[in-house]
């Protein structure tokens, strides 16, 4: 029965107002906000559908990456020079300008790579959930995905249709 309890539903809509109405109706029917997702082919302004606010920790990633990159830069410049201290042209073994350049690039590279990882991680990608999807969303339709119907599939379907869903897809 677990499969029936968690069965997901996707309602397709033509406009943003109907999607907002669908979310209101589903919440009124006691579907938890975190189980309702709006799918679109373009970014809408935040809160356009009255969806729940979802937090993220993306801003932490660049700092971790920058720290890692800085450490690698330090190892490449100071570490390698101290490992084989060779005086060239009377210049000090640990010269500040080269260290600054390579530390800077290492720090930025680390920050950017970790930001990219953070974007992928926080976007919950790759998505292997197998939740229903419809190619019409890529053509301008808007989808309301009810990720857990908890045995109340018929209620969810009724509310989606009442809000103006043009089609319902089940998985």
């Amino acid at each position: 029965m677990a499969a029936v309890a968690t069965q997901a539903l996707l309602g397709l809509f033509r406009d943003a107002d109907s999607v907002a109405a669908a979310l209101d109706r589903l919440r009124a029917a006691n579907f938890a906000g975190h189980n309702l997702k709006v799918l679109t082919d373009t970014p809408y302004p935040e809160g356009a559908f009255g969806e729940d606010h979802e937090g993220h920790r993306l801003y932490v990633f660049p700092f971790i990456g920058a720290t890692c990159g800085f450490s690698v830069g330090l190892l490449l410049t100071i570490g390698t020079q101290l490992a084989y201290p060779m005086v060239t042209g009377g210049k000090p073994v640990l010269s500040v300008p080269p260290i600054v350049h390579i530390l800077y690039e290492g720090t930025m590279l680390g920050a950017i790579l970790f930001t990219v990882l953070g974007i992928v991680f926080e976007s919950r990608l790759p998505d292997l959930s197998g939740a229903p999807h419809d190619p019409r969303i890529s053509e301008g339709y808007l989808g309301v995905l009810v990720t857990r119907t908890d045995g109340r599939r018929d209620v969810a379907e009724r509310e989606l249709r009442a809000a103006g869903a043009v089609d319902i897809i089940t998985k």
Binding site: P43, T88, M108, S123, E139
Partner: protein
């Protein structure tokens, strides 16, 4: 932006995915021609590795010539991506929408091409790895990071990695659309790359933040890259190169040539893919105005370089500027550079009618890059033409030979082929950005006129 078209989402998909999903005959012809030129350049590189660099026109002291000019030129072109994409994203400029991806893609391929030139220039490419990366762990000998030539790879690898990641992250939503529209191997290909992107409000929120955050992170890298490229010259004690103004001068020169290259690319894409609804005269007007500002900033730094060179009254510097500006054949090249690199393009772009004429902008932007290639050529080669102490066999004029011509041609073919193949596989104009523009646009009635407006968060 007055040219606002109402384009429904399915038409945006039809128009912008037409080329990635259906292959016209001309693609094979053009790709074949470009591939042949690239192949010739690759053969030339093999020959250079086999017989040595004496097949180039190098002299006793002139060994930084066409290859290094090309390196600096393509690094310059690569600055288009960040200039257009990052700055316009950060400032939320509405006209960025059809421009950003082409600019970012140009960055990636131009930088990849630039990276090949210092490697080829070394003659024995495989040995370059020893200089750049730590080697020989058993004996504990490491490369010397005190050399400016070691800073280059760190900057360029950072920029290339960042730009490629930037392109990919912004591409994910469009890969999802391509996945939903394709069948067979293409469907599998786009499905893997899209990683199951569904377009949830959370994913879109992160996409928006990613655009701004990555722009903010890449922007300082972009400034550092061409600064460090300039250090290859400025850190040397060579008259004509040893200048404190080189870093900002190189950066602004890169922006001037890079943004011009974006204008060229936009005109060609519009023509090749029939993108008249997406790339309008308004976009060229905006790029033209941006170019006017950048060109004058570049002129300021160019003038500083000349003034600092002359005002010091150092004999070697004066002789070098005399060579660059008044001695045959550099004087003719200097005049062509001045005309094509500043006077003609800026003179023409002052007029709105010309900025809105796409054919004119195509030729003007090409002219700018002829001038900017010559600028790097004049900047790099003449200072090495002086007779050096203790050099007895002296042949002072460097003359490019056939391999140099093929390598220059090959570099243009490589970048063009890269952008063409990318456009064949992926939409070169961001679908979601165009659709977002459609969702957010509105009109305000003020008195008796209706004014286009954009709703922003």
């Amino acid at each position: 932006m007055k040219d606002r078209n109402d384009i429904p989402a399915p038409k945006v998909n039809d128009d912008l995915l037409a080329f990635p999903l259906v292959t016209p005959l001309w693609f094979w012809l053009v790709a074949g021609a470009l591939g042949t030129i690239v192949g010739l350049a690759v053969l030339t590189v093999f020959l250079m590795a086999l017989v040595g660099l004496q097949i180039l026109g190098y002299t006793n002291t002139q060994q930084w010539a066409v290859l290094i000019t090309n390196f600096v030129f393509w690094v310059g072109i690569s600055h288009a991506g960040v200039m257009i994409s990052a700055i316009l994203r950060l400032t939320q400029a509405e006209w960025r929408r059809p421009v950003t991806r082409a600019a970012e893609v140009l960055t990636v391929f131009a930088l990849g091409t630039a990276l090949t030139f210092p490697l080829i220039h070394t003659g024995r490419v495989w040995r370059t790895l020893y200089w750049v990366f730590p080697y020989d762990f058993t004996r504990g000998i490491w490369p010397d990071p005190r050399s400016a030539l070691v800073w280059d790879p760190s900057a360029i690898v950072t920029y290339l990695t960042s730009s490629s990641m930037f392109v990919y992250i912004a591409l994910i939503p469009d890969l999802a659309v391509a996945r939903d529209r394709s069948v067979g191997w293409k469907h599998r290909f786009y499905s893997i790359l899209a990683m199951g992107f569904r377009g949830t409000t959370r994913q879109w929120k992160l996409q928006t933040i990613a655009g701004i955050l990555l722009s903010a992170l890449i922007l300082p890298v972009f400034v550092s890259v061409h600064s460090i490229v300039s250090f290859d010259f400025a850190m040397a004690l060579q008259p004509g190169w040893h200048s404190t103004v080189f870093a900002p001068y190189f950066v602004i020169g890169a922006v001037w040539s890079g943004v011009s290259a974006v204008a060229t690319l936009m005109a060609l894409l519009r023509w090749a893919f029939h993108l008249q609804d997406y790339i309008t005269p308004d976009h060229f007007d905006a790029i033209g105005r941006l170019l006017l500002v950048v060109s004058n900033a570049w002129l300021y730094f160019f003038a500083l370089d000349v003034f600092f060179g002359i005002m010091g009254r150092e004999e070697a510097e004066l002789a070098m500027w005399n060579l660059r500006m008044f001695t045959w054949p550099w004087n003719v090249e200097f005049i062509i550079f001045a005309l094509t690199g500043y006077l003609i393009p800026v003179g023409l772009m002052l007029f709105r009618k010309i900025r809105r004429n796409i054919t004119a902008m195509l030729w003007i932007s090409l002219l700018v890059n002829v001038g900017m290639w010559l600028e790097r050529w004049i900047l790099i080669v003449p200072p090495l033409s002086f007779k050096q102490p203790f050099v007895f066999q002296w042949r002072n004029w460097y003359t490019p030979q056939w391999p140099e011509f093929i390598l220059v041609l090959g570099s243009f073919a490589l970048v063009s082929l890269g952008v063409l193949v990318f456009s064949k596989l992926f939409p070169i104009i961001p679908l979601f950005d165009i659709k977002e523009g459609q969702v957010l646009k509105d009109e305000l009635k003020i008195g008796r006129v209706r004014v286009p407006a954009v709703i922003r968060e």
